[in-house]
Symmetry: C2
Subunit: 405 residues, 2 copies
């Protein structure tokens, strides 16, 4: 299950990476992580991913599931995954916990791609995506997700009704067998201060994986009645390791991919990423059952998924003259369209200097992201379609849709 046998026959391999405390990194990317698997170009990998919101409903998303229990285990005496985020281990900034929650996504990996070197492009084909069925016998056949309307959401300081502000968790159910392509709401509850096993009080959702004490919350059922939410499973985070820093917060996306949060990055999609470090170091996380463009309240239906990926390496020497030449951003191809993603900064790790990882949160805007999307789409059309700048600009205006993810 780990490395391909030496003396490979050249046949395509298919590996499985389960999600356990030993195979995940939580809230950050790093060029220094030890790979959990090494593959060759063309190999398939089935990767389990866990949502970092699973503790919003322990009975439905953790209980009875050895992988999830392993990752989320946190008692007075033990915390299986200590670091959560790219912050200091001693939580000297806010005191939230190890890593400070500067980055929140549970990522499975990294997978080392043999022979991948900086300047190459890694093509990631998403062959299959399945929801992770609940292992608790009480909820057999179903899968669950959580939507947190949280303090980082667009709505948070702009609420109409009391109490203001507030964070609200909504639990959704989907059909684990995939017979129904829609989700329905089960109940919601208001976040109230939670004391973690190490004694830190979390008044807001400021650290991932904090156990929720069910005695403190009040479930409100009968919500969003008769409403069916279309299911479109996707991975919010797919990343190669960035080269610029030792620990990189998993929240701001960048040239390396990361937290792009586009529902189009699901089954059948193909992503292309520039390789920045030896072996590429591919990781996946932040699984979603469904999200709208914008993920307005801060999260999607956060729901553990298992994906099957084929990893295909394009060596730097073979890129000139192809559509992948000079690719310095993640490129998405779906059955219907090509998609580039605009960020506030194309490479904030370089552009924002020493304090890049702090500054990025202050300097982000939709207007900046639109600018970046325009430049990338122009590059894409000129590079891959051989258009002049004037042709590319006209085409963008009359036939390219820009959206908010």
């Amino acid at each position: 299950m780990r490395d391909r046998p030496s003396g490979s026959t050249g046949r395509t391999g298919h590996y499985v990476v389960p999600a356990t405390a030993a195979t995940v990194h939580w809230g950050y990317f790093s060029r220094s992580l030890k790979p959990v698997l090494s593959v060759e170009s063309g190999d398939f990998v089935t990767i389990e991913t866990l949502t970092h919101h699973a503790y919003d409903d322990h009975a439905r998303m953790i209980e009875g599931d050895p992988g999830a229990e392993s990752v989320f285990l946190w008692s007075k005496d033990a915390k299986n995954v200590e670091r959560r985020g790219a912050g200091p281990m001693n939580a000297s900034i806010h005191g939230r916990g190890a890593g400070e929650g500067f980055g929140v996504h549970i990522c499975t990996g990294p997978v080392f791609v043999r022979d991948a070197q900086p300047g190459d492009v890694l093509e990631v084909r998403i062959v299959d995506v399945q929801p992770r069925g609940c292992r608790n016998p009480a909820f057999r056949g179903r899968a669950f997700g959580s939507n947190a309307a949280a303090w980082w959401g667009f709505h948070y300081n702009d609420l109409l009704t009391e109490p203001k502000p507030r964070e609200v968790i909504t639990i959704y159910e989907i059909d684990a067998a995939g017979a129904r392509n829609w989700a329905r709401a089960v109940y919601n509850y208001r976040w109230v201060p939670q004391t973690d096993p190490f004694g830190v009080v979390h008044r807001i959702i400021d650290y991932p994986g904090v156990p929720v004490d069910r005695a403190l919350i009040e479930e409100k059922h009968g919500i969003l009645k008769d409403l069916r939410i279309p299911v479109r499973p996707n991975f919010g985070v797919i990343a190669l390791a960035p080269k610029e820093a030792e620990l990189v917060d998993s929240v701001p996306p960048g040239y390396f991919g990361g937290n792009i949060d586009d529902w189009r990055i699901g089954k059948g999609a193909v992503m292309y990423y520039p390789v920045a470090v030896s072996g590429a170091l591919f990781s996946v996380g932040d699984p979603h059952a469904s999200q709208g463009d914008s993920e307005l309240c801060g999260t999607a239906i956060e729901c553990s998924l298992t994906g099957t990926f084929q990893l295909v390496l394009h060596k730097r020497d073979h890129l000139p003259g192809t559509p992948l030449a000079d690719l310095d951003y993640p490129l998405l191809e779906t059955q219907d369209e090509s998609v580039v993603h605009g960020f506030s900064f194309a490479n904030y790790l370089v552009e924002l200097g020493d304090n890049a990882q702090t500054e990025i949160f202050a300097k982000s805007s939709l207007d900046r992201a639109m600018r970046d999307a325009f430049r990338k789409m122009r590059h894409f059309l000129m590079a891959t379609k051989g258009l002049s700048e004037d042709e590319a600009i006209s085409l963008m205006s009359v036939a390219v849709d820009f959206g908010v993810t």
Copy 2:
């Protein structure tokens, strides 16, 4: 063709409003315009609209077409439609021409809806949309449009190639009979300074309908070869008259509708607008053959269209308890979705005070528009679906797409 006969039998009327110098207003809305037609709720109106970019290719978009010739006629001695924009008639600000081009869209109307009063809602059903066939025998069976990559486009100060900056017009052809659902580029040319018949030099595209001297420009053919642009005809501007000002620039959209530029506002779409003045005063213009979300370079494929609309009045007294209660923004319903449009200001004419019509251009941003879209969608879900605020916010995050138009 004008008013319904008195002593109406109560049967539904169907009227036609051709586009001529007498039935259009160019670049502005006004509560004081004399209606070109008066209808009752439920009546159908077929309305011809002309693109203000038709002079970009006179032979293909004006020549031989009596309506277009009437509207665009501008010689040393005569200018059939004098006012173009909401600016001063003596052009005392920039000297561009009457109205200063503060507003650019040729609008046909207004249509007076009998019994419509402030507080009512006008439902506009777009029953049919047809491209306006070229009347020049040289181009029989075809229709044409112009895409101007202009100084107000998002790309203008961010060009890669020389000369910088530049404005580029691309002429597109579509099939007037509708047998093909795609457009193709015919040629492009760079805008060069044009002297209008009154002697004003237009170095950039700063005034609508300036005759283009074909001897000064250079057609570049063979562009965007083999590329098919999906045709999705829509009206960039549909407006009721705003009550706040005598003359309102046609460019910034508002609660009254106006220049929303959403390709979804085409055949089969239904729009709802709050009525602000007696008779509603409904106008249509800015016809597009196709545009992408964002209309990045400043324009769509600007192409004259004829639309058939059914106008249905919803009286204020019957709104409480219905989804249209308290509607104070334009609401779009298509076959698949409900759409609200976020603007930088929900009602800039009121919010920005005395200089609203100037300030709006300085204070617009995507971030502000996203805020407005969020608030409107929340209102829509709470008002029409009976959801609590928490339900609405969760639903928006997991199942509503936000885009850029």
